[in-house]
Amino acid sequence: MSLAAEILIAALLVFGGAFTLVGSWGLARLPSLMTRLHGPTKATTLGVGACLIASMIYFPVSGHSWSAHELLITIFLLLTAPISANMIAKAHLHRQGHGIDANPTDDIVSGLPAPPDGGDWATFQGGANGPRLPPSARGD
């Protein structure tokens, strides 16, 4: 293995490890869920991506055959991280808006502005715990 490839892999590994640690540190230290979402969705995904790219460079350079597995995992993580963050934020909004969780955070209960047409936010409508949608919105 050449020295240049080794330095590149080492730099990517250090970068990835540091970013993973910073993301999880943010998860542990930040004050509320909406701020905590930032750490894992940005820093941790970037850190894992750097680790995977380091692994993708390491195996062909050290004599193994090249494979697309790491690239698959990186693309999959980059695609799914925003979706899962959006789902978590929606679930959080829903529960705080209904007062289901015991300790309100992020000022959501009093802070969400009312939609202009007199309805409710879409995430608060329907479902097992929420009010039923009007028949026109249900489509039956």
Binding site: M1, A81, M87, H92
Partner: protein, 93 residues
């Protein structure tokens, strides 16, 4: 000279990822809301994927790639299912 840079950076990255797993475990235990715990589990699995890949580099084997890929898929489906359950009280509508 060659080999020592790689082993030191690998040890550093493994230590960082292990500490990150401990921090997300702290958030998983601490809570306080259920959305926090879902986020902690999501972060935990992403960190475990990084740990598996680093372990594969340390052992110089490509056996563990499939497990990392499976873990990424299962973690995403689990996060979406938990959130759907919190949102609707039902997973498959």
């Amino acid at each position: 000279m060659t080999g020592s840079i790689l082993s030191w950076s690998l040890a550093f990255a493994l230590a960082c990822v292990s500490l990150a797993i401990l921090l997300s475990l702290f958030r998983l235990v601490r809570g306080p809301t259920s959305a926090d715990r879902i986020l902690a589990v999501d972060t935990l699995t992403i960190n475990v994927i990084a740990l598996i890949m680093l372990f594969g580099v340390a052992e110089a084997t490509t056996t563990y790639f499939e497990s990392a890929l499976l873990l990424a898929m299962v973690a995403f489906v689990a996060t979406v299912a938990y959130c759907k359950f919190l949102l609707r009280g039902d997973i498959v509508e």
